[in-house]
Amino acid sequence: MNITLRVWRQKGPDDKGRMVTYQVPDVSPDMSFLEMLDVLNEKLQLEGEEPVAFDHDCREGICGACGVVIDGEAHGPETTTTCQLHMRSFKDGDTITVEPWRAKAFPVIKDLVVDRGAFDRIIQAGGYISAPTGTAPDAHAMPVPKADADRAFDAATCIGCGACVAACPNASGMLFTAAKVTHLGMLPQGQPERQARVIKMVNQHDEEDFGGCTNIGECAAVCPKGIPLDTISQLNRDLLGALASGRTE
């Protein structure tokens, strides 16, 4: 396959940035999208041009490092991570547009690389169960109904890639936040901090300049891990409950 790529190039955070067109010949349908970018980068370097910077690490869809907007869709045409998207999803002669996540809370560092530190700060605000090492009772001391454990697990599979933010017209980080609130809130261990957690995490979310959630659902549609949209309903229920009980943090 021969592919034409239109790629966002931006030298640094202060550079204005622009789209640049490249040709990538001899693309195999079995290549991953990132391997196709590797081929482009090898070619660019031999021609004396700096390679396109993009985040990636495990390349098996679990670390959450990779993620670009491909033809207007976060992670591209399949519901998966960019590293697990393969060129067989495209046709010979296609022109593909590649851009970084676009969100105020995710400033561009270079080319396709953005700063997602805001997600870590949301977790710092309350995305944990306080269980210092050594204090745990026996693992079987607290049985968890399988249905609850499964729902907690479904929410816990979030990889923190940020596709939900990139896809949201408001650039909201609510699906990410809700996934953690649901994961921990479904478990008996998570109950003591449940109300404080949701308030602190939502406050931090707002401080990070993510937009508000207006239930559009683009986030869940692009999520490579299928985090369900109803986690946001659970977050809202928890938040209302916490506020109604008079908590402010």
């Binding site: 990636h56 690490d57 679990i62 261990q189």
Partner: protein, 646 residues
Amino acid sequence: MIDLYTEGDPIRDEKAPDGPIAERWDKRRFGAKLVNPANRRKLSVIIVGTGLAGASAAATLGEAGYRVTSFCYQDSPRRAHSIAAQGGINAAKNYRNDGDSIYRLFYDTVKGGDFRSRESNVYRLSQVSVEIIDQCVAQGVPFAREYGGLLDNRSFGGVQVSRTFYARGQTGQQLLIGAYQALERQVAAGTVEMNTRHEMLELIVVDGRARGIIARDMVTGEIETHFADAVVLATGGYGNVFYLSTNAMGCNVTASWRAHRKGALFANPCFTQIHPTCIPVSGDYQSKLTLMSESLRNDGRIWVPKRTGDDRDPRQIPEDERDYYLERIYPSFGNLVPRDIASRAAKNVCDEGRGVGPGGLGVYLDFADAIKRMGRPAVEAKYGNLFDMYQRITGENPYEVPMRIYPAVHYTMGGLWVDYDLQSTIPGLFVTGEANFSDHGANRLGASALMQGLADGYFVLPNTINDYLAAGPFEALDENTPAAKEAAESVRARIDKLLSIKGDRTVDSFHKELGHIMWDYCGMERNEEGLRKAIERIRELRDEFWRNVRVLGTNEELNQALEKAGRVADFLELAELMCVDALHRRESCGGHFRSESQTEDGEALRHDDEFAYVAAWEYTDAGQPPVLHKEALEYEYVEMKQRSYK
């Protein structure tokens, strides 16, 4: 072989306690000096790496009240490669009432490691395994549960009990997120300072003690100097020396190698684990290999056609023309033999010309029987995400066509030498998780890496590092301290050199070539002739690298080619040491198979009289041969015998 290395004095683990094995860990904890809680805030610890071993240690030392500074090269600590571990984590809970015990986990691990690990360490690991599960559950790790609400277990390669706890096929992810959350909780509490997108490029040693690191801010290029009273490396394994492996793209040996060059001994570098169940290579553009959890071997059956060159659709090959070779050769363990054995068996049938798929480098992993027996929904529930992953990568549907698998480099048992306290030969430098030479001997059993990473970080290091820190805080240092200045300058000089060569070849082209050399000569099967050839070729390649590599751009920006160039430069040095180690160990053991040392029926043949030791290598000046220090291994509890899984 005198040209390739020299032999120095033997080395001993001075911290190892004696007495009955079940009491040794208690004895060491009691013997170790303590630090009063009020004094802990005066003591600082640098932790490099935020995988299971690093994040758990940072969280735990932060909770204890030490001032921790943590580093990772990723944009978030949550992305460390522990996240990709799929299958599970072992613990001697005996929840299944199937005869498991701490002693049995210990026994299985010593035997599985082919008698090249320390009994005391492995016993401690087994003891602590029980607490890990409790800790993770308390943090909210959503392990698989049964309808009664209790935890589910499964069996894993190399053992006959069900002691593996799991979270679908994403156990590593869930455990790491648990440790990451505990870490971020300490960041919020102010006890841990987190530095993301930072790469350690040098160790600072002052008056014989590890006192800090030089790190590069990967966004701005700034070369930073960080000091502490102790340094912990939790920087993972070096499987990427093979270019293609199941490691993440960024995994590297640089932190360990820089410490090695500063005096830390590197132990058993040739012990690498080749994992039997990976998706085969599809083309030379391939950047990494993807593991399929070996839990698949619980229900899938591995086979190749009996006839060479049989290229029929596998579904058309009748039962009596298939060779379920693991079940045939190893009737008592069948498809569940340890990884090294399964990998080599796959290589052997492919070498015989019976491999399947492109290039004949693959064997079938077939779920047809399992689907018949359990029904498709049950198979989906258990392995669905793995099947989906396989289909995404290969474009084939494994519910209908048998999967194709082939071995790939997965884990490195070798690493920096540490004593019972996890302290390296440089005082104040501790090494945890895959980065140390570890408790797995010459071969790691499935679901034991997660166990060891968390054991080291949550329970071992936090109970041993205090013995060292009790003598602190050490003298205050600043950037003008000669050792720190020199370290920073050497880092700058190396970066300048890499940027100034402006040669004709990309960093990746060197890395790929190195990977081919290592896979061909220091992979699943090694011999003297091949290893000597490899050493020669590595030296030539390293020489060309420093004359002809092309790294564009500057230091003062995000520069991924520059990052990679530094890592590949270190792999080019490590690779030679791996080959020297493989060459000197003229026996087969675990993942290290020397073709000169095998039994009549082709199984690995150890030579305990000559090689029952840890090979700890000392770095000497560039161009000088390394010095070998032997640590003798003694087995009081598990009788040394040839492993048999037949």
